[in-house]
């Protein structure tokens, strides 16, 4: 449904803001993710550009009120184009002392701080490790503090409904959200609609949430304390129809679109793992599109099933996060040897080992490149934004099916859960990836028609025959194959030939992908380089630096193996190259090794995306040196 919203107009002081960054933080059980999603949604519908960053703990529900249990949702909405969820908070809403403690450092000095005053009792303070009450000890004097008795006001608002206090408190998030809606001139309509649909089967909850939301809004309107509210106008996005999308959603949609574009059925086989599980969940909802999903017994089984599907002539896709990639690595080797199409989605998270399961990181690049025995090249792609996950998923399917190869799609926790506006693609404008499986023999031996499963086309791809095709019966497997016939071969020269051919096939993809794009002048002092999900921070930092007059450009790799053909040229046109990564310097190693450029590195390995300011400062330091 396409909506045009009327922004409510009221007679209060209104300040115009170009963009605003808000974080809602509370206990895992406080519903911050839901409130954040609603705020995002509403802001998107209001025509703002948006970017979000949800951040939640690894525990399902750590003990209430503890630091470990804090869950946060950050949203940046703007009247101009933005690419990141924002470095620094303009407004922070905290539902308890633990949330204050873990989040305050990100609030700008003078920023708005809204606290649920009712949650600052002695035991709450103790759980968060406060010795004195920050609401009273003056430590918050640098902020515009609003102490709102959210819990009690909310209970009052729903009092008539005779809920238990626990049930009543479940609406607190909507009360807080209502207040924010008032503060930033948001319409209640989309959220009211959401509440209506979501709780249609539970009228008292429906009513409670509705009342809570309105009560929060009205509190803003009536309280003396809040005298200003803010307006963030519509962004000048390119004309079109938009929706909000997260990276995981975009991948799921991309896969459905790829099934359509190739004309092939699709199997998504996965095993639950944070932050990739939602792709499985989402696709499991798409049964009406003929999508089949398998929650396999483990990651090995999942990739096995996906490869089995590919062998069957349909699209086989598997997705996981780093630890799961470890388990899939042997089977990836098999797919390389048997030259079957396969898409492997790695939603990267903090490592090594179990690491920081709910946090973002980019440290699986070299694993994707080299994490298998033998010379075992695959294509590696990395989407740059949540919405780009859709396009790159289609790209992954295109390259997998046209080059008969496994393709890695390196997403990350930040892209997976972060949201942005997305120009809705038209189905009839999707790329045509139609696949026709061979039906006829492709050679003659002694005058007899025969089928050679390793006879290659111009792209060096072998034919993708679907079992069931009469006359083309053949066998494949993981032992080295004889060129052309695909028979087992231990012949030394053949092995070398095949190793080189497999490598060449992947290298050839460079002819079939876009060149590396430079944002800014084509040459200069400094090139800021990144890959995948850091796009927004690096681009924004670059733009700021450019505005400050620095000779700096930005290039983001979305194709990592092979790299775009112009990569070496681009790198060499800048005096300095700074590779910024959320890892210890993995792309940097590759660029140095391949192009012998003395690329500098800026690494951040904190389970968090880059702040724009971090990049800016690092770049300035280099530019000034």
């Amino acid at each position: 449904m396409t909506t045009t919203l009327d922004v409510p107009k009221k007679e209060v002081a209104v300040e115009e803001r170009d963009s605003v960054t808000i974080r809602l933080a509370g206990d895992s059980g406080d519903g911050m993710q839901l409130a954040g999603t609603q705020l995002t949604h509403t802001s998107a519908l209001l025509g703002n550009d948006i970017s979000t960053f949800p951040d939640f703990p690894a525990e399902i529900r750590a003990p209430a009120g503890t630091l470990a249990g804090v869950s946060g949702f950050q949203i940046h909405f703007s009247s101009s184009e933005i690419h990141t969820p924002g470095d620094c908070l303009n407004t922070l809403v905290v539902m308890n002392p633990a949330a204050l403690k873990t989040n305050l450092k990100d609030l700008e000095l003078g920023g708005i701080l809204i606290v649920d005053k009712d949650s600052f009792g002695t035991s709450d303070l103790r759980k968060a490790g406060y010795k004195t009450n920050p609401l009273e000890d003056g430590s918050l004097s640098g902020y515009r503090l609003f102490q709102v008795p959210i819990t009690s006001l909310n209970r009052e608002a729903v009092a008539e409904l005779k809920l238990s206090p626990r049930e009543a408190d479940r609406c607190k998030n909507f009360f807080a959200l209502g207040l924010i809606y008032w503060l930033y001139e948001r319409s209640l309509e989309p959220t009211l609609r959401y509440i209506k649909t979501k709780f249609s089967k539970n009228p008292s909850v429906l009513e409670a949430n509705t009342r809570a939301l309105k009560a929060g809004y009205n509190y803003g309107e009536t309280t003396e304390a809040m005298v200003v509210h803010y307006r963030v106008g519509k962004a000048k996005l390119a004309p079109g129809t938009y929706r909000k999308i997260t990276g995981n959603e975009a991948i799921a949609l991309g896969l459905v679109a790829a099934a359509h574009a190739t004309g092939l059925p699709l199997l998504y086989a996965g095993y639950p793992i944070t932050p990739a599980s939602d792709i499985l969940h989402q696709l499991a909802e798409y049964k009406r599109f003929g999508i089949k999903t398998l929650q396999a017994e483990d990651e090995i089984a999942a990739i096995g099933a996906a490869i089995g599907a590919s062998f069957g002539g349909v699209l086989g896709v598997t997705g996981t996060s780093g630890p799961g990639i470890c388990l899939k690595s042997e089977a990836i080797g098999l797919a390389v040897m048997t030259e079957l199409p396969l898409v492997i989605i790695d939603v990267q998270r903090g490592g090594p080992s179990t690491g920081l399961p709910t946090k973002t990181e980019q440290a699986d690049l070299l694993q994707a490149m080299y994490g298998r025995n033998g010379e075992c090249p695959v294509a590696v792609l990395a989407p740059a934004t949540p919405g780009d996950c859709f396009a790159m998923t289609l790209e992954a399917v295109r390259l997998a099916t046209q080059y008969m190869t496994p393709v890695f799609l390196l997403s990350d926790g930040y892209l997976a859960n972060g949201a942005e506006p997305w120009a809705i693609p038209q189905v009839d404008q999707l790329p045509d990836l139609h696949i026709e499986h061979p039906k006829e023999h492709n050679a003659e031996v002694d005058g007899q028609p025969v089928f050679h499963p390793y006879k290659r086309d111009a792209k060096l791809a072998r034919p993708w025959v679907a079992p069931g095709t009469p006359g083309l019966e053949h066998r494949i497997g993981g032992i080295e194959k004889q060129d052309v016939t695909g028979n087992i071969s231990y012949e030394p020269a053949n092995h070398e030939y095949m190793v080189r051919t497999r490598a060449q096939k992947i290298a050839n993809i460079a002819n079939d992908i876009p060149e590396l794009q430079v944002n800014g002048p084509e040459s200069g002092e400094l090139l800021i380089v990144g890959w995948g999900g850091t796009h927004g921070s690096l681009l924004t930092a670059t733009q700021r630096l450019q505005r400050k007059g620095y000779s700096v450009s930005h290039a983001q790799f979305r194709y990592l193996n092979p790299m775009p053909k112009n990569t070496g040229d681009v790198l060499k046109r800048f005096k300095k190259v700074l590779v910024c990564e959320l890892n210890g310097g993995q792309l940097r190693l590759l660029l140095r090794g391949h192009y012998l450029v003395d690329a500098l590195g800026y690494s951040k390995v904190q389970g968090k995306p880059f702040l724009v300011s971090e990049i800016e400062e690092k770049a300035e330091e280099i530019l000034r040196s």
Partner: protein
Amino acid sequence: MTTKSLPLTPKDLASDQEVRWCPGCGDYSILAQMKKALASLDFPREKMVFISGIGCSSRFPYYMNTYGFHTIHGRAPTFATGLKMMRPDLQVWVITGDGDGLSIGGNHLLHAMRRNTDLKIVLFNNEIYGLTKGQYSPTSRIGTRSKSTPTGSIEGPLRPLSIAIASEATFVARTTDVDITHLVTVLQRAAHHKGSAFVEIYQNCVVFNDGVFEYATNKSVKNDNLCYLEHGRPLKFGKDRNKGIRLHGLTPEVVNLGSGISDDDLLIHDEKAEDPTLAFMLSRMVRVPGDEMSFPEVMGVLRAVDHPVHHELVQQQIDEQIKKRGPGDLQALLTGDETWTVT
């Protein structure tokens, strides 16, 4: 190109690849009987797929003129599961060994059977690792001297059939490499079963474990050591079919027929029993060489029940969703529930 016309002959099922097992290996017979069994099916060879792991046994697909996939060690059931889900029209065979299927790959077998995936799983049990040149396997008897157990293995063996039954397999059977008529029949029955069919074949590894199934294959003694199961019939065995299995509470016992004990006293085989306890009990019977009154080992079909099949349930949910909510509209999906327009 056109289909090889039916019926097929076993020769139609032979690929052009040279068979490379050791001379005398039991695998040769299994290959030959498989071709016979499949030729009898009235099913086109291009719709047959053989998927294997790694091991001597797992070379099998190369020798069949069908579609084939020689995958990686222990994982054959996973490839087969994905294939069968997406291509229900194919008849999918899984070929595995005691190491491939029960050591590294035990979990996948288990889950394929639990799901009642429509696979025909044939486990070549030679109680040894052949391809890696003779280490003991999870089915090797205690005390097996092998390269990795020079002073004898200390681990109790698994019983493949017990595992299959506990994994909820709907068809469970056993046969031997050299009992060629029985082998053909069992393979045919597996082929006809809808759901997970698990077949254990005693297979002689002439190089690393020669003669370990002598008691079950040597014509002069095997009838005393094996009990061939027939649905609805009493469990009888012995060269002269003069011995039987009787139930004593839950405990089976071997009895000599005659002198007061007749067929009517014997346990009646029921492969269709929904409760798998009987099948499990049969899977526990082990011949102790030299012990006349030890149990015979059962051959044939222990269990064959009809349960809903995985790929059909998958399709059913799709059909139901389409019926309920209409077929998927991609544009609507991409568009989503809430949009806004910038002009």
